[in-house]
Amino acid sequence: MAADSYDDVAKNKDSIPELEVAPQDLYHAKSFWTKYIFCQDAKVIGIQYALVAASIGMVGLVSSWLMRMQIAFPGVIPMDPAAYYQLVTMHGMIMVVYLLTALFLGGFGNYLIPLMVGARDMVFPYVNMISFWVFFLAVVILAASYFVPGGPTGAGWTLYPPQAITSGTPGGDGLGIVLMLVSLAVFVIGFTMGGLNYVITILQARTRGMTLMRLPLTVWGIFTATVLALFAFPALFVAGIMMTLDNMLGTSFFMPAIVEFGERLSYDGGSPILFQHLFWFFGHPEVYIVALPAFGIVSDLISVHARKNIFGYRMMVWAIVIIGGLSFVVWAHHMYVAGMNPWFGFFFATTTLIIAIPTAIKVYNWVLTLWRGNIKLTIPMLFSIAFIITFVNGGLTGLFLGNVAVDVPLSDTYFVVAHFHMVMGIAPVLVILGSIYHWFPLITGRFLNEKLGRIHFWVTFIGSYSIYFPMHYLGFMGVTRRYFEVFEGDNFTYSITGINQFITVAALITGAVQFVFFYNIIVSSKFGKKAGKNPWKACSLEWQTADVPPTHGNFGKELPVVYRWAYDYSVPGADQDYITQDTPPSAVANARAEQT
C-alpha cells in the first residue's frame, strides 16, 4: 500500500516534515459557564450536540411508537387522523435532520475530527460554539411547534405544497408549518458554521505527516458528508424561505390557483413541482449526509475489531467521494410519480443505478477486510456486521425503486418505507450505536456494560428486521403508507392486520431496548469497568492522546507526528499486532510492511 509514493516522508526514515500550521491559540475556560455551557472545546461541543440530538430523537422514537399503536391497535391510544399525520411528519423530520445529521456531523464530527487529524481543536472554536447554540435554538423552535394552537405540521416530512400550507392539513393554517420552516432555516445557518469548521480543520489543520490519504476513513466520510451538506442545505434554506412567504405573505411561488372547501384561494400561477425539485435537491444528498459518515466509521470499526487493515483504502476513499458527487444528480428519482417527462425519469434512473457501483465496492471491501481477519466479536464488531447486512438488504430494494417502471406501482407503499428505513434509518443507527460502544472508553475512560450491550445489540438487530422485513411484503400487497387506518373486512386486510400487529409489537420492544442502552450509558459513565489507554489497541490518533479522556488541547505538550496510515494491524514481523500512526519507522524496524 504505497499511499504516498511522491511523499518524501516515506523515503527518509523518521524524517519529520516542516511545521506549516502555526500553533493554535486556544481560549482556556476559566468559569463553569465557559467550560461546560458556552464551551469552545470541540469535544464538549460534540457531546452537547449528541445529547441534544438524542433528546429530540427520543421524541421521534415515541412518535413512532404511537404511530405503530394506531396502525395495529386502533383505539387503544385515542388519536384522530390529524394527530397521526403530525406524528408521521415530526418522526421523519426529527430522525433525519435533528437526530442523524446532527449526531453524525455535529456529534461525531466535532469529537473525532480534531483528534483524528491531530489538531488541538477546530480551527474556529468560537464559531463552533455558536454553531451548537444555533442548533439548540433550532431544536427549541421545533419543539415549540408542539405547543402552538393547531400543533405541529402534519404535511409529511417532505412538506409538499400546496397541502403543507392549506388549512385542511394539521398545522397548515396555524403556526405549525411556519415554526417547522423557521427551525429548518435556523438549523441550516447553525450547521453552516459548524460545517465550515469541519472542512477547514480537515483540509488545513492536520498534524505533521498526516496526508489526506492517511486520514482514517471516518474523517473522509464526515468530510464528504459535510461538503454535501454545505452545498445541499442551501436548497432547503431557499425552499423554506419561499414557502414561509407563501404562507405568511400570500406570495405564489409554490401555489397554483387552488380551491379549498369550495372557496378559491388568492394564490395563482406558482409551481408545486419546483418545491419538490428544491426539496429533493436537498433531500437526496441528505441521505448520503447520513450514510457517508456511517460508511467511514464502520470501516474503522471493522478494521480495528478484525485486526486487519482496511481492504482497498484508496478505493474506499474514492467510492465515498464518487457517491458524494453522484448524490447531486439523482434527486428526481423521488419524483417519478410527480408527472415528470419520461426522458427525465430515464436520466435519473441511470444515475441512480450507477450509485450501485461505488456502494458495491464498499460492501465488497468491508467483507474482504473481514475475510481471514482476526475477528473479535466485540459489540462494535457485532453492530458493524449487522450494518453490512442491513445495508445490503436496503440497497437491494433500492435497485427496485430506482427503476421507473418498478417504482411507479411501489411508490407510496410500505415497500418504500421499508427500503429507506433499512438503508438510511437502521443501517446508520447501527453504526451510531456500535461507534458509541467503541468510543465510549475514550470519552469517559470506562467501558459500557458488556452484558447489557449484548442484549441491546441482539434485540435491536432482530427487532429491526422483524419490523422492516414484513413491511416489504405489505408494500407488495399494495398497502399504502401514511394511511391513518387500514379498513377491516375481507381476507386481504385480515392478513395485513396480523402483520401490522406483529410489526407493532416488535417496534415497541426494539424501542424499549434503547432505553436499556441509555441506562447503560448513564450508569457506566460512573461505574463502568475502567478502560485505560487505547483499550481496543487501535492505530488512529484519537487513542494516542496524553490523557484519557483527552483534555482541552487534545494532545498534551507536543502534537503527534504521523508516519503511516491508520490501518497497520497485524503487520508481519512487528512486535505487536498494531502499529500506531505516530510510531516512527525506526521503532518498528522488523516490520515487513512499514512503507505506507
Binding site: 491559540d25 453552516t192 454545505l230 431557499v238 419561499m242 412567504l245
Partner: protein, 235 residues
C-alpha cells in the same frame, strides 16, 4: 501566518496541485484558515443565490399572467422623460466602485499603511450604505406604486414576490457587509491589526488578513448583484 508567499511559477499548476493535495498539514499551501473558510462559505452562498435565481426563472415560466416590463417599472421620471433603469445603473455603478476601493484597502492593508487602508475601508462602507439607501428608496417607490409581494398593478403577482425576496436577500448581505466594514474600519484606525489586539468575542489575535477576507465577501456580494441585475432588470 504565511500569506502572499512568492511561489515560483516554474512548477506546472497541475503538478503543484497534486503535490499540495498529497502532502500533509495543508491542502491549500499558504492559505490561512480564515481565507479558506470564507471561500468555502462563498461557494455555499453561491448555491443559495443560484437557487433563488433558478426558482425565479421557473416561476416566471409557470405563471400565466404577463411579466411586467422592467424598463418601465424600474424607470425614473427625470423632467418629462422616463429614463429606464436610471436608479439601478447608479446603484450598480456605486457597488462596483466599492469593489475597487475594497481591493485598494486590501493592498494598503498588506502594506501596513494604516491610514490609507482605513480611509478606503470607510469609503467602501459608505458606498455600500448608499447602495442600501438607494435600494430602500427603490422599494419605497415601488410600494407607493402599489407593488406588493402578493400582487402588483403591472402584471404577474410573482414579479413583486421575487423582487422583494431576491433584492431583499441581497440587500441583507450588503447590510451585513456594511456593518462589518464599519467595525473593521474602527479596528484599522485603532491599530488592532498592527498590535495584534485580541478579538472581543473570539479572543483570537487580529491580523490584516481579516481585511482580505472581508474583501472576498464584499466582492462576492458585488458579483451576485451583477447576476441579479442581468437576470432581473435586463431580462
Amino acid at each position: 501566518m504565511e500569506s502572499n508567499q512568492n511561489v515560483e511559477i516554474v512548477v506546472p499548476a497541475k503538478q503543484s496541485f497534486a503535490t499540495e493535495w498529497a502532502s500533509d498539514q495543508k491542502a491549500f499551501k499558504g492559505v490561512p484558515w480564515g481565507k479558506a473558510m470564507m471561500w468555502i462559505f462563498l461557494v455555499s452562498d453561491t448555491f443559495i443565490f443560484s437557487i433563488f435565481l433558478i426558482s425565479y426563472m421557473t416561476v416566471r415560466f409557470s405563471t400565466k399572467a404577463e411579466w411586467p416590463n422592467p424598463s418601465e417599472v424600474f424607470g425614473l421620471h427625470v423632467g418629462d422623460y422616463n429614463v429606464p433603469l436610471l436608479l439601478i445603473a447608479i446603484m450598480t455603478f456605486i457597488l462596483i466602485t466599492s469593489s475597487g476601493t475594497m481591493a485598494l484597502a486590501v493592498k494598503y492593508g498588506y502594506e501596513k499603511n494604516r491610514k490609507m487602508c482605513g480611509y478606503l475601508m470607510l469609503a467602501t462602507a459608505i458606498f455600500g450604505a448608499s447602495f442600501v439607501g438607494m435600494q430602500a428608496f427603490e422599494w419605497t417607490k415601488l410600494i407607493m406604486e402599489g407593488v406588493r409581494p402578493w400582487e402588483n398593478p403591472f402584471g404577474a403577482p410573482q414579479f413583486g414576490a421575487i423582487f422583494f425576496m431576491i433584492t431583499g436577500f441581497h440587500g441583507t448581505h450588503v447590510t451585513i457587509g456594511v456593518i462589518f466594514l464599519f467595525i473593521m474600519t474602527r479596528k484599522v484606525f485603532r491599530g488592532d491589526f498592527d498590535t495584534g489586539r485580541r478579538g472581543f468575542f473570539t479572543s483570537q489575535k487580529s491580523h490584516y488578513e481579516a481585511i482580505e477576507i472581508m474583501g472576498l465577501y464584499w466582492h462576492f456580494v458585488d458579483l451576485v448583484w451583477v447576476f441579479i441585475f442581468a437576470f432581473f432588470y435586463l431580462w
